[in-house]
């Protein structure tokens, strides 16, 4: 009796899965290849890049590791999505809360979550991509893979084609003006770290034809610099990435100290009044396809091109 029921159930589910997606898709990722024979509907993402990729094709995940602060997701992205549940910090997601959501797909970051891959995989099929250490080009590849995984490969391809056109337009505009060497940096009260040419924002600017004064061949994303080194590198334009959520209550940063020094005036960026403030949430933390477009727009706007 029970055998017949089981058999019937098996056929029923087989027929259902075939109707949901005709061919089981195999998604390649950092930890191997994972076959997905259904279109996932309850997705948990553990990095903002992946949330943004889903938003491009109109999919809302059920759970997001959003550092327990939904406001970290820019309103322009949040408005396109339905509500989700926080599953803790990106650095330390809560396995319990992920399990409680009963997901059918988890998307995790290689550098942050590779150590908990097995635990995640026990909860649901898990894809691991680079976000934290990814440059611009890798973000595009990952977006396409995520599109394929959720069964919206064609839609994503279309969106990425649009993206390429937008970026090419900005690149053309920059190519028409004289070359600019840029430095991207975060200034805080005890240090100044510059983002290299292989960082997310750094690689976007490279793509746009703005070369970074810190060219890097390895995967070193940031370098701590002293004022003396900055003067030696002497960029034409300096983009300082600060957090909009940071209030005036935070202690004064090294930039506030240095701008009073007679040495600061020696910088070309200062002489040309090309020291700009941009939102670190978009320039460094989010790392997505659409954020890359915003970075490109802001770069143009700040340079006054």
């Amino acid at each position: 009796m029970s055998k017949t029921v089981n058999l019937l159930m098996f056929f029923a589910s087989a027929i259902l899965s075939i109707t949901a997606s005709a061919v089981p898709r195999i998604i390649n990722h950092e930890m191997g290849a994972t076959p997905l024979d259904q279109t996932p509907s309850r997705i948990v993402v553990l990095e903002f890049s992946f949330l943004e990729a889903l938003s491009l094709v109109g999919v809302t995940p059920v759970g997001v590791a959003d550092d327990n602060r939904k406001t970290r997701v820019p309103a322009r992205i949040r408005n396109k999505l339905n509500d989700w549940l926080s599953v803790g910090a990106r650095k330390q997601p809560s396995l319990e809360r992920i399990r409680a959501l009963n997901p059918d797909l988890i998307i995790a970051d290689w550098s942050r979550h590779q150590t908990i891959y097995d635990a995640l995989n026990q909860i649901a099929p898990t894809l691991v991509f680079n976000s934290f250490k990814a440059d611009y080009h890798e973000i595009l590849t990952v977006a396409q893979r995520i599109g394929d995984a959720v069964g919206k490969g064609a839609a994503m391809q279309q969106r990425l084609a649009q993206h390429d056109l937008k970026m090419a337009a900005v690149r053309a505009q920059i190519a028409n003006s004289s070359p600019v060497a840029v430095m991207l940096a975060v200034s805080w009260h005890k240090g100044f770290s510059a983002h290299t040419s292989v960082s997310f924002a750094g690689s976007i600017l490279e793509q746009l034809g703005l070369s970074n004064v810190l060219q890097e061949n390895s995967d070193v994303v940031t370098r701590k610099l002293t004022l003396e080194q900055i003067i030696t590198l002497n960029p034409d334009a300096l983009y300082l990435m600060n957090l909009e959520e940071e209030s005036s209550a935070t202690p004064s940063t090294l930039y506030d100290q240095w701008k009073k020094s007679p040495l600061w005036a020696y910088l070309k960026a200062v002489k040309n009044s090309r020291v700009f403030f941009v939102d670190r949430n978009i320039w460094a933390r989010f790392r997505g396809v659409q954020t890359a477009e915003w970075v490109a727009e802001q770069t143009l706007e700040k340079l006054g091109l």
């Binding site: 805080w188 701590k224 003396e228 080194q229 030696t232 957090l243 209550a249 020094s261 007679p262 040495l263």
Partner: protein
């Protein structure tokens, strides 16, 4: 003071140029002439060593100002900066970046060395140091907590030095408590064990702070390993009053430390208030190490190494040990800072890493001897 005679006598024998004096000491039974002779030669020897290390400090300081820069800074620029200032780029770099950094290194080195000397004097334990007492880690934790929860209390902006001092004091008291220093059961081993445990506990809390607040991630390295980068004249203005205050108090206490070194009972018999001496000396040790940490993060091993080297060079008299330790500490930190410019040029290595590289083998050697 009688017990110091054999020590000085031994030192005298170790010096080959004093061979004829040893001869006289064998010939004569009366020890008083030997004492006066050896004190005189010891004074001159100490003076020579003092002058040597002052000159060494000047030399390494000159190196520190000129090496490891992509901008061409040479002796000529240094000379011009002092006598012929024209606000050119190399001269501004010397005046605005390198000189304040050098002076901070000198002050911090003196702070840490004196703090270590005081820690060893107060506990009469050769393994004591600001790092063992967790003063550096405690101060670092307090500053990291300040970074998360803010440093404004009842509408008043608390000075960083005060926050660091409270953190340093907290961990020092904790180590004293577990190390048995407060109930008179202490041994070198127990103190080191308590120090290691408290240090690990504090390091864990610092890491927890970083996990709780992602924006602190940038600063984690800073709170775990000290660095002398990005110092300015304001740092020197903040530090210097504490240096002078603690040095004066310590020199005033020097005689007391000399007597305390003979043992608590002897010291008490000679009229020393051991409790007052320990509180003042310990307080100074915490202020010195905490103010150093508030300025440039935890820098280890200076406070441990320097007092031992100083003892080898000038003997056990605290009147000499205090200024000599400060001088040696300054030397060590300026040398370490110069190395930190050079090791991974054009980028910098945190100076705390350099002192740890020099200090860790020294610590092993020391614990083997004890």
């Amino acid at each position: 003071m009688n017990t110091t005679i054999p020590q000085q006598y031994k030192l005298n024998q170790g010096c080959p140029s004093q061979g004829n004096l040893d001869q006289t000491s064998k010939d004569q039974d009366n020890s008083i002439p030997i004492y006066s002779v050896s004190v005189r030669s010891l004074v001159s020897l100490t003076l020579v060593r003092f002058v040597f290390f002052v000159l060494l400090l000047l030399l390494v300081s000159t190196f520190n100002l000129t090496v490891g820069s992509a901008v061409d800074i040479g002796w000529q620029q240094l000379y011009n900066y002092m006598l012929n200032f024209d606000a050119s780029l190399p001269q501004l770099i010397i005046g605005e970046i390198r000189l304040p950094r050098l002076l901070t290194s000198i002050i911090i080195g003196a702070h840490l060395a004196l703090s270590g000397l005081l820690a060893q004097a107060v506990t009469r334990n050769g393994l004591a140091s600001p790092s063992i007492f967790g003063i550096n880690s405690g101060a670092a934790l307090a500053m990291a907590l300040g970074g998360i929860f803010g440093t404004v209390w009842l509408g008043i902006q608390l000075p960083m030095i005060l926050i660091a001092f409270l953190g340093g004091l907290f961990s020092a008291v904790l180590v004293c408590l577990f190390g048995g220093l407060l109930n008179g059961q202490h041994s070198p081993l127990r103190l080191v064990l308590a120090g290691v445990a408290v240090n690990l506990f504090l390091a864990a809390l610092i890491r927890a702070c970083v996990i709780l607040d992602e924006d602190l991630a940038d600063s984690v390295l800073y709170w775990l390993v000290g660095s002398l980068e990005n110092r300015n004249w304001q740092d020197i203005k903040t530090l210097l009053p504490w240096t002078l205050l603690c040095a004066l108090v310590t020199i005033y206490l020097a005689r007391g430390f000399n007597l305390l070194a003979l043992g608590d009972d002897v010291a008490r018999g000679l009229g020393v208030n051991a409790l007052k001496l320990r509180l003042l000396g310990g307080g100074c040790a915490v202020v010195l190490a905490a103010s150093a940490t508030a300025t440039c993060g935890p820098i280890g091993f200076v406070g441990l190494m320097i007092p031992h080297i100083a003892r080898k060079l000038v003997g056990d008299d605290y009147c000499l040990l205090i200024p000599f330790s400060m001088l040696l500490g300054a030397n060590l930190l300026v040398i370490s800072d110069t190395l930190s410019h050079l090791i991974a040029f054009p980028y910098e290595t945190p100076v705390g890493v350099v002192t740890a590289l020099i200090g860790a083998p020294f610590f092993l050697l020391l614990s083997k001897k004890i």
